[in-house]
């Protein structure tokens, strides 16, 4: 089985390196195909591992080699395939296989074709390290690796200022979180003496709550960065500058869920500190609604989807925070499928519209892009959580969890968010595919994407539909061998049915409302005149609560200003100047006093006599003070005389 583990892990790397060989040369189709193939290999290997894990219920652990070893510190390259990691592996490899295939079509005309695949496979490799590592250090490798790849991929079109800016923003923001992560790791090491998951978690019950709390907080800060939780969320929306497949893979399905994975992975830790758990849950709920509101008004389909991702991540954290780790993981999986689907659909639309992203400039695309419409609609249905699609089983489960754990505020928030989710999803569906044609006027002639791209999306569609009711049971069976197996079921049938059906109706209403509002004939491209656009709440939302503005004004600019001050004022004017100052003083004192050497003989003689006289007078003084010599000595001893 180790062999399959290594295959699953390293196949993407091989693919990436292979593609890298042609990085500089011009587009070669086979590059895309071969790297996709390697990802597929990895997928197959992962499936084999999955079946093994399912069959035996045991986990595979290997130690490839030592990485760092000094003092008491021992960090190997160790990998583990257990129920949790194998789930992630499946999700990652599956989605990335599909995205790779899709990208062959999507990146068709891009001159960076080979480079793109090299980066994308590299990402998959780092993601595999992240999920398969059996220690925190290894996790951190993957953690930073995916960060790097996302930097590369967001900034893939590096000639675009906005893209490179977004890339740097993403990287730096993640760095801030990574610091927290690093500190968390240090805490784990100095308190448990190891970084291996099993041993570390085994040692944790022995620690005092405060330490555990700190560990929990710092690790979660790491998670917040990757999963773009408030207040480190702004990068995710901007990350949409990257090519759409990237958004689908990295910023919807896999990387952003790394935070959730981390929390789930350290469930034994968080189980010990429920108060932190509650905080996580609350933050999750807040982010859920916070992001959803921003999605309501945004006029960029990719950003809308990005915000919805953010909001869904909020759901996951809510679940994880409340201790329903398996639920969180389950929603993670389901979400990966339909959200990737949604993004790829959006990709098709973009292609058709020549990278036009404003849904108001589309409309009625349904006629020319039927398949895409169906795909996206179904994905949105799944996202909205309509029975029997995936969303229903995973997302409503989280509502139930909140309800059962008596966290009614969280429940309420999440419920409301569910409604918002449905609304904004179908808002864009309506705007894009229905209503009347607004794009021909703008000179667009949309066309459906390549067949094979659509076929590539098919598996996602299937999964988005069936993964809910089909997998739930088995999934529960599998992961609860590691995770706390809490059944979430409302005993009272009446209550159960009321809230379930109630939720459904609420969501359906939201959908109906969205259609009603955005299919009517009178929709025109907003030009900032309508009363709604000038309303305060609209401005607030469209400006993302002015948070990016705040960061720019109160963090970035001051930092830049302070740096300049440090350089020009402090470093040059103070630190350096003082050094030169000393030199100058010495030199100038020379210039001033050299007059003493006037070269005139009688002055020289005067100097000699003067010296003599001074010494004489001192001698006389001393002669008088001779009897006090003792004190003098004591004073002078201070001089080291």
């Amino acid at each position: 089985m180790e062999m399959f583990l290594y295959i699953a892990l390293f196949a993407p790397l091989v693919g990436s390196l292979f593609a890298g060989l042609f990085g500089a040369s011009k587009k070669k189709l086979f590059v895309g195909i071969i790297s996709s193939f390697f990802i597929f290999v990895s997928f197959v290997a992962s499936s084999i591992l999955l079946s093994y894990v399912l069959k035996t219920g045991s986990s595979i652990q290997v130690e490839m080699m030592t990485w760092m070893a000094t003092g008491d510190l021992y960090i190997p390259f160790g990998f583990v395939v257990d129920q949790i990691s194998v789930t992630m592996m499946m999700v990652v490899t599956l989605v990335s296989t599909i995205v790779h295939v899709y990208a062959i079509g999507y990146m068709d005309h891009d001159k960076g074709f080979n480079r793109f695949f090299s980066y994308l496979s590299a990402f998959v490799f780092s993601m595999m390290i992240l999920v398969m590592s059996d220690n925190f250090a290894g996790l951190f490798i993957g953690w930073e690796g995916v960060g790097l790849c996302s930097w590369l991929l967001i900034g893939f079109w590096y000639h675009k200022e906005s893209a490179t800016w977004a890339a740097n923003e993403a990287f730096i923001m993640n760095r801030i979180a990574d610091l927290g992560m690093l500190i968390g790791i240090f805490l784990v090491y100095w308190n448990t003496g190891t970084l291996q998951y099993t041993e570390a978690f085994a040692a944790m019950p022995g620690l005092d709550t405060e330490t555990l709390t700190w560990i929990g907080i710092f690790l979660f800060i790491g998670a917040m960065g990757k999963s773009a939780q408030f207040p480190l969320h702004t990068w995710l929306a901007d990350a949409m500058e990257g090519p759409t497949p990237v958004s689908a893979l990295i910023h919807a399905a896999t990387m952003v869920t790394a935070g959730v994975y981390l929390v789930v992975r350290s469930n034994e830790l968080y189980a010990l500190i429920p108060h932190i758990g509650l905080f996580i849950a609350s933050l999750g709920a807040f982010v859920a609604i916070f992001a959803a509101t921003m999605a309501l008004v945004n006029r960029d389909i990719k950003r809308v989807i990005a915000y919805s991702t953010l909001s869904q991540l909020g759901y996951m954290f809510a679940a994880a925070g409340l201790g329903a780790y398996w639920v969180a993981l389950f929603h993670l999986m389901a979400h990966a499928f339909f959200k990737a689907l949604l993004f790829l659909g959006a990709g098709n639309v973009m292609h058709a519209m020549h990278d036009e992203l404003d849904p108001f400039k589309m409309g009625g695309l349904g006629k020319s892009m039927k398949t895409t419409m169906i795909l996206m609609t179904l994905a949105s249905v799944a996202l909205a959580g309509i029975f029997p699609l995936a969303g229903f089983f995973s997302k409503d489960l989280i509502l139930e969890v909140a309800f059962i754990d008596q966290h009614f505020i969280i429940y309420g928030v999440l419920l409301l968010t569910a409604g918002l989710t449905a609304f904004y999803s179908f808002r864009i569906i309506a705007l894009i595919f229905h209503g009347e044609d607004r794009h021909t006027a703008l000179g667009h002639h949309p066309h459906e994407a390549y067949k094979f791209m659509l076929w590539a999306m098919a598996p996602l569609l299937v999964l988005a539909i069936i993964s809910g009711f089909l997998f739930k049971g088995g999934f529960f069976e599998m992961v609860t061998q590691l995770l706390p197996a809490t059944e979430y079921h409302i005993d009272n049938a009446a209550t159960y049915w009321t809230i379930t059906i109630g939720t459904q109706i609420f969501v359906l209403l939201a959908i109906y409302f969205a259609y009603k509002k955005y299919m009517c004939k009178s929709i025109k491209i907003p030009d900032g005149t309508s009363a709604m656009e000038n309303s305060f709440k609209y401005k607030l939302l469209i400006n993302q609560y002015y948070i990016p503005h705040f960061y720019e004004e109160y963090l970035v600019k001051p930092y830049r200003a302070l740096s300049t001050i440090f350089w020009e004022k402090v470093d040059n004017k103070i630190v350096d100047a003082s050094v030169d100052g000393i030199a100058k003083i010495i030199y100038s004192s020379g210039e001033k006093t050299r007059g003493m050497q006037s070269g005139n003989l009688s002055t020289m003689l005067k100097w000699m006599v003067a010296g003599l006289v001074i010494l004489l007078s001192l001698a006389v003084v001393f002669g008088l003070a001779a009897r006090h010599s003792v004190e003098i000595t004591t004073i002078l001893s201070g001089l080291g005389v």
């Binding site: 030199a583 020289m604 003067a610 010296g611 010494l615 000595t633 002078l636 080291g640």
Partner: protein, 501 residues
Amino acid sequence: MNPVDISIESLNLVTLAPMLIPIVGALFILIIDMIKGGLDRSLYVMLSLLFLFMDFAALLNASDIFTQSGTMMGVFDVMLIDGLAILSQFIIVGASILFIPLVLTNKRFHESSYPEFFALFLFMIGGFQFMVATDNLILIFVGLETASLALYTLIAMHNRDRSFEAAVKYFTMGALAAGFYSFGSMILYALTGSVEINQIAQVLEADNYANIGFVLIGVVFLLASFGFKLSLLPFHTWAPDIYEGSSAPMAGYMSIVPKIAAFVVSMRLFEFLIHSDIVWLEVILYIIVVVTMTMANIWALVQTDVKRMLAYSSISHAGFVMAAILIATTQANSALFLYWILFSFTNLGSFAMLWISREKNLPPGQSSDQSYEKFSGLVKTSPVAASIMALFMLSLAGLPPFALFWGKMYMISSAITGGYTVLALIMALNSAIAGYYYLKLIVYMFMKEPSVAHQANVNIGNITLSLKTIIGIAAVGTIFAFLAINPILEFVTSFVYNSGY
């Protein structure tokens, strides 16, 4: 009137041998000149070299005697041949041996054509040797003046306006210093009724410095006169002008030989006072040492003429070494000799380097012979000369492993051992300041472009085989000093120790 009977043995005339040899040599040269004039300078150079070597041999012999039977008195106990005397004479004679061949320059200079020059030179050496080989104030005075008068004349013989000016200045101030000296010794004599330093010391010890005030007044006068010889502040004012006025090798020579003689005498004069802790003297010396090396360094920074810079630098070195007198431990005194041996190599070398670049008349449109500009880009025109000059500069700056580093190190170490930690720090930092002006010359030679006014032939215009040899010796001595430090140190320490300092 009972007849005076004194056995020749008791006179122990061998103690006179080293001093007599150069004097005899001087007379010999004069006689030759009388018999047949107009002989070439090379003859006189070689003759003086011969006598100096004989002198050296006599010293070796004396040192053997010293190692066997310790300090010798002679000639009515006026002569005192102890370790200090022998060591300092080694330095005096050795430096002179290195100096004499420098006369044989490519261009003929005025003084070298006079046989008197060499005679006076040898007289001077004799004078210095007397000065260090006695603890009798009279003989010290006589030796000092013999040497000084000869020296004034030697400077004047360079026969340039500036050298006359220098000679007059030196002479006048020297006369004043002589006055101080005699007055000082008069006071000591008045207090103790003796002119033998060791007896003075005993008497003073005996009555436990009853009238310390007068003792100090006497000491002040002596300090003033030796401060002049050692160019300590504020008696240093002659040094830069005299160095600039006199020919380069003469300046180098003056920065070494008269000073070591003066150092030895001041060791004899002041250290017994320090040992019977006269706090006042300690403080005064402390101040003088610090002020001398610091101020001299600072003034050297702002010089535009290399020779003048070297003048100030040697003032600062003198101040640095004066610390040994203040510390007054065996290690310090041996450090003094070690330092001075190494210093004489490097300093003579660097002045010789200036000598080879000397022109017959002042370069057009320049106020000084060796301005920094003259050396700009030397590495391009004559790399070897530049490298050697740089080597000497680095050595003077105290950069390891070159000669002077070891001196500095041992001196600072002795300061620490003597408990003068602060002083040690000051000394160290002064070497840092000094680094700048030595570096300045290196910068000119290595990092600037050659100025059209000076071609290579100017900068090494004076070079002859003998100069090459001397500079070569100096360079080798500077580079490979670290091999010689151990024997020198052992030798010096044993001599200093055995003569009770």
